[in-house]
């Protein structure tokens, strides 16, 4: 051995003098061993390849084997349960009775059925015998006829004769009951006759069987409706199916959107008709059935597949990682559990509120409430400013067009004057005429746009308050404290924390303070804090605001927590604010881009007055911004109430709160620096700030952030950690950014102004998940346009409506769909009987109220210009429907929204009531006023004396406010429409297809043939002032 090695080494070093062997090495050496060895290895590699093909690369085979066993055993376990249930049902009287009827029906028909079947049998026989000869004959004759039709005149007769012979030829048919002779004509008749008879018999059979069939159906339904799961038989069916299932790739293929999904090759339980839980399936989560079958019902997997919603590589089958798209080169990895609703956005980009997608909707809400949209453009959010710009542009364009048209008209007229012939001239004049008409049309359009522009002035809102008023509103000491760290002062505030140095804070505060406007502010006497507190608790402030801190905190979280207002606010201003939140000190003129001062008005010799009517700019013919751009509505409080509330709020403070004096706040030197910082940090995105009204958004557009190439998301120095720790993906980027917006500055040496600007919102884990979901979903859709949810019918109104509803937080007080939480419903004062004091729920509002009335109500909930300190409909409620000063457009959207929600047609054309005859009038009044009927005990009648005590809406309003058919349903079955209402049920009982008054007797009523409920409704809808006086006059 050693020798060998030595010689080998020698051969390596000194090739030329290797020992020369005895026998010629070339011809004597053998390659057999290496050959044998290598070919053996070759075989092994082959085996390996087969293994990979059979199992290694085909995991779904294994899954499907496993599933079959687990599934069958799971079903077996279910069987006994459903058997018991089924037994119980089968034993139930209802079933037995049905069964008996079925049996009886079947027996009664037995004999007829048999006879029919015999008949049919015979007919079949005869047909069987007849068909062949008949069809042969027919084809022969048809052929011959064709010859005749196409024959030349000469040969025609002979052929025609042949045809006749054929027709006359005798066909002998061997029926079992002896032969029979036919000509073709008879044969045909016979054939058709038999056919007809056969049909007839079958028809009879069907009719005969109809009744039993129906019973059978009822029987099955009876069981299925009462059975929770499947019947034992069905289960057995499933088991058989499962056992019979081969092993193959399960595939959904929709060529329209070029979709191929094999997810179900492993997730076999997804669409099974029984619900499979993980522990039923031996703890294997792959095999569970879809947790939201109702979603599958809406989106048929055969059409939509899986990957459009869930992402992942639908085609992949070679390994779980590949199939889930969790590898470097797949751009759409499976959504994580907490983000899967992101998939909804593929098609539901425009749904502000999406059912079944609570996380996503919450994400969108946050995006709006927390003011993300203040800095980040995103389709469907904060659209008003853009629309304003567009409208303005259109107006200017139209003006240009108009001028062009006018010139053209003139030119045409001139040409006409100089025209050679009369015809020509007339033609030209006519054209000129037409052009001038166009001009008129343009004017009309411009007017419309102007109106829209004014609306938009009202609709533009900012997430934060108007900072022009700080001088009047705030205590200067408080400002820097707040800017430095808002959460320290108010933990759940929506104002984020900016990363500012102390100097910057001073500069910013100084700028804010100095840029504020001064204005007349009348001194207010103190109010009664205790009463103030009661008002806050009862009037509905808590729908949006919360009071109290920590444990005591209660109320809505849409607007600020009021617990420390006392430390920051100026009492006089607070009174004004509470009384008229939208009231500005100075109007703002978008055209001149500045606030209009009393001097400006004086200069034009105008009184310094501005509000929704007086909204023209004194310096030119255009509209002013006359309201603060905040959503806080007016509760139509009296001055006194306002004072009380303000006084109460001033008591809301930490006794020990200390504020250092702020000499710098008036320091002019800081102004520019402050202004620069404010712009740099985009404060104007959320606040109205003097001189920065038209600032653009400073953030990235997030509309398609979810499909940005990962390379373009700047992980900066964290890239490698991210890759190592496995969060180098969109989810990871968003989550970390939201948790700590400065995170990607880590380790980088930057000038303060180069640093990332996004402030810290101190979001909770849940909120981060919600926003991440929203952002992940904000993708370029892989699903083609025609699959997106862009309805053109009423559902579009719903989409538009939700935007408004969310904008003004209507959901803080009202319930829009069953089970929707409101801010009020959990408050102690609304428990038990307190429920009565809650605002009405708006489920089915569209069906209830007359849309035209609703529009009026929305723009003025007091339903009166004078007596405004009250509810228009429910004066008896302490809670008050506030005035939002909605624009006409928003009102329209809301009305349409409600109509659409309850599938009501627009415009609403009420069905004309047939007038009450005098007799009916008497009867109705009698019924109405009778002691038996408690109507007037609760319902107001518009009589100030009695109405104080009333606890239900006013009758006088019914005819304009409600819809008759709804009213009728309401008085008959209130508890169905609004569970737990105070309106008593059972006022009427059904009697011979009409509703009859059920409580006590009303003179003359029993003799009335008509429907009593109907009578009442008509009475109410024809409720005249005289009638009212009659009622109240007693």
């Amino acid at each position: 051995m050693v020798q060998r090695l030595k010689s080998w080494w020698k051969s390596l070093s000194k090739l030329e003098d290797q020992p020369v062997p005895e026998r010629d090495p070339i011809v004597n050496s053998s390659l057999a061993i290496p050959l044998a060895l290598s070919s053996l290895l070759l075989m092994l590699s082959l085996v390996w390849a087969f293994y990979e093909e059979g199992w290694g690369l085909r995991p779904w085979r294994v899954y499907q084997d496993e599933f079959q066993e687990l599934f069958v055993s799971a079903l077996e376990k279910k069987k006994p349960v459903s058997r018991e249930e089924e037994q119980a049902i089968l034993a139930s009287s209802g079933y037995q009775e049905l069964l008996a009827r079925l049996r009886q029906a079947e027996e009664s028909r037995q004999s007829d059925l048999q006879s029919l079947e015999q008949q049919e049998q015979q007919i079949r026989q005869r047909l069987a015998i007849l068909t062949r000869p008949f069809t042969t004959a027919r084809s022969e004759i048809q052929a011959k006829r064709y010859e005749v039709e196409t024959a030349s005149a000469s040969s025609r007769e002979s052929l025609a004769r042949q045809l006749d012979e054929l027709r006359q030829r005798n066909y002998r048919i061997e029926f079992p009951d002896g032969p029979q002779d036919y000509t073709f004509g008879e044969l045909e008749e016979e054939f058709n006759a038999l056919k007809a008879e056969q049909g007839h018999v079958q028809q009879r059979k069907v009719e005969l069987l109809r009744a039993p069939a129906r019973l059978q159906r009822q029987l099955n339904e009876y069981v299925n409706n009462r059975l929770a799961g499947l019947t034992e038989v069905q289960l057995d069916g499933l088991i058989g199916e499962a056992r019979g299932q081969g092993i193959y790739i399960r595939q959904i293929h929709n060529p329209e959107i070029n979709l191929v999904d094999r997810c179900e090759s492993c997730h076999l339980g997804i669409r099974e008709p029984v619900t499979l839980t993980a522990d039923e399936m031996g703890g294997r989560r792959v095999f569970v059935s879809h947790p939201r079958p109702e979603l599958l019902a809406l989106h048929d997997p055969e059409t939509f597949g899986c990957s459009p919603c869930h992402n992942g590589n639908g085609v992949g089958t070679v390994s779980v990682t590949k199939a889930h798209g969790k590898y470097k080169h797949w751009l759409w990895p499976l959504f994580a559990k907490e983000n899967f609703e992101a998939g909804c956005l593929q098609c539901h980009q425009n749904d502000r509120h999406l059912r079944y997608a609570d996380t996503l909707t919450a994400g969108k809400d946050l995006f709006q409430y927390r003011g993300c949209m203040g800095c980040h453009p995103r389709d469907g959010f904060d659209t008003e400013p853009r629309e304003t710009r567009e409208v303005q542009k259109q107006i200017t364009d139209l003006f240009a067009e108009k001028q062009a048209e006018q010139l053209k008209a003139e030119r045409l007229l001139n040409l006409g004057d100089r025209a050679a012939t009369n015809e020509e001239a007339n033609q030209l004049y006519a054209d000129a005429q037409a052009v001038t008409l166009d001009v008129a049309a343009i004017d009309a359009r411009v007017d419309q746009l102007r109106v829209r522009a004014d609306e938009l002035l009202l609709e533009v809102k900012k997430p934060g308050p108007n900072l022009k008023e700080v001088r009047m509103k705030l205590r200067p000491e408080w400002i820097p404290r707040w800017i430095e760290n808002p959460q320290a002062f108010r933990p759940d505030t929506k104002m984020p924390q900016f990363r500012l140095s102390p100097e910057d804070v001073q500069a910013v505060s100084a700028f804010i303070w100095q840029s504020g406007v001064e204005g007349p502010l009348d001194r207010q006497p103190q109010g009664n804090a205790e009463r103030g507190r009661q008002i806050v608790e009862s009037r509905g402030c808590l729908g949006c605001h919360s009071v109290g801190e920590g444990e005591q905190q209660h109320g809505g979280n849409f607007a600020a927590n009021l617990s420390r207002v006392g430390e920051k606010a100026n009492y006089d201003y607070l009174v004004r604010w509470v009384h008229a939140p939208r009231r500005r000190t100075l109007p703002y003129c978008p055209v001149h881009a500045r606030d209009i001062t009393p001097e400006d008005y004086a200069g034009q010799g105008l009184p310094f007055r501005f509000d929704l009517e007086y909204n023209r700019c004194p310096l030119g013919d255009h509209s002013l911004q006359v309201q603060n751009q905040n959503v806080m509505p007016s509760l139509r409080l009296t001055e006194q109430e306002a004072r009380d509330i303000a006084s109460y709020l001033m008591t809301q403070r930490h006794a020990d709160a200390q504020y250092a004096p702020v000499p710098f706040i008036e320091d002019q030197a800081l102004f520019d620096r402050g202004r620069f910082l404010v712009r740099h940090h985009g404060c104007a995105g959320c606040h109205e700030i003097a001189g920065l009204e038209d600032e653009g958004k400073i953030g990235t557009d997030l509309t398609l952030e979810g499909s940005k190439p990962i390379e373009r998301l700047d992980f900066a120095l964290l890239t490698h950690d991210a890759k190592k720790e496995g969060w180098y993906n969109h989810k990871g980027f968003f989550e970390n950014k939201l948790r700590n917006p400065a995170v990607y500055d880590q380790g980088k040496i930057k000038e303060p102004l180069e640093r990332l600007r996004m402030p810290n919102f101190h979001l909770s884990k849940e909120d981060i998940d919600r926003l991440t979901t929203f952002l992940l979903g904000s993708q370029e859709s892989v699903v083609p346009e025609q699959y997106h949810f862009n309805p053109s019918d009423q559902r579009a109104d719903v989409q538009a409506g939700w935007v408004v509803v969310k904008k003004y937080n209507c959901m803080g007080c009202h319930e829009f769909y069953a089970g929707q939480p409101t801010s009020l419903v959990d408050l102690p004062q609304y428990q038990g009987d307190g429920r009565e004091k809650l605002p009405p729920n708006l489920i089915g509002e569209g069906a209830r109220v007359n849309p035209n009335w609703l529009a009026r109500f929305l723009e003025n909930p007091a339903l009166s210009r004078e007596d405004v300190h009250r509810n228009g409909v429910r004066p008896y409620l302490d809670l008050r429907m506030p005035s939002f000063d909605l624009s006409a457009g928003e009102v329209q959207k809301l009305v349409k929204f409600f109509q659409a929600l309850s599938r009501q047609p627009l415009p609403y054309l009420p069905v004309p009531q047939e007038p009450l005859t005098d007799r009916e009038l008497v009867l109705a009044r009698g019924l109405f006023t009778s002691q038996a009927a408690p109507c007037l005990r609760c319902h107001a009648t518009g009589d100030p004396r009695t109405d104080q005590t009333k606890t239900a809406p006013n009758f006088a309003l019914v005819s304009e406010r409600l819809k008759p058919d709804w009213t009728r349903r309401w008085i008959v079955h209130p508890e169905i429409i609004s569970p737990g209402t105070a309106m008593p049920s059972g006022l009427f009982r059904e009697e011979a297809a009409r509703w009859v008054f059920a409580l006590g007797r009303v003179p003359g009523l029993e003799s009335y043939p008509g429907d009593h409920a109907d009578l009442v409704v008509r009475y109410m809808f024809q409720f005249t002032p005289q009638e009212q006086r009659r009622l109240t006059g007693r």
Partner: protein, 175 residues
């Protein structure tokens, strides 16, 4: 394969034999490998999934179909819907002779195959030409909404001699 000239020792024979054995083994392996490759290529031509059009589809409500032959779906699904006294059934438009698509000749009330002239009456029963049996019928059933669902992957035949499947439930709808 070594040269055979120079060998005289005694143990040469069995060395030779061993060599032969190895040679045999080697070639066995190599040919086995090639054979296996051949089989692999055969399998290679049968992919596991296809992307062909669906064979089940909805064609509307029974009310949509008057008595007689309805050729609406011939282009799209290659079927005729026929209604007669017995009910509604679906003929799969494929001549039972050589699989051409026959034409519905309204004037003569028959299906005529352009290829070899097989003729079928309006229930698809052959009465002339080389066709061996009536045209096959596709499976029909009503779904929950009462729409007709046709499944052309399930066909009912009526070959002469053996029993006719046209009376099976599924071969036609009673209405």
């Amino acid at each position: 394969m070594a040269d055979t000239t120079s060998q005289s020792e005694t143990n040469n024979e069995d060395r030779e034999a061993a060599k032969i054995r190895r040679r045999k083994f080697t070639f066995a392996c190599i040919f086995a490998f090639l054979g296996a490759n051949f089989l692999m290529t055969l399998r290679f031509f049968f992919p596991r999934t296809l992307f062909e059009p669906k064979t089940t589809f909805r064609i509307g409500y029974p009310g949509d179909f008057p008595f007689g032959v309805d050729t609406r779906f011939q282009q799209k699904f290659r079927i005729w819907v026929v209604r007669n006294t017995e009910g509604i059934f679906v003929i799969y438009a494929k001549c039972t002779h050589l699989g051409c698509i026959p034409d519905w000749v309204e004037s003569e009330g028959k299906f005529k195959c352009p290829c070899h002239g097989s003729g079928y009456d309006q229930e698809g029963v052959n009465f002339e030409g080389p066709a061996p049996r009536p045209m096959d019928r596709a499976k029909v059933e009503l779904d929950a909404q009462g729409q007709i669902v046709v499944d052309t992957s399930v066909l009912y035949q009526c070959p002469p001699g053996s029993e006719c499947q046209f009376n099976r439930s599924g071969a036609f709808l009673q209405v």
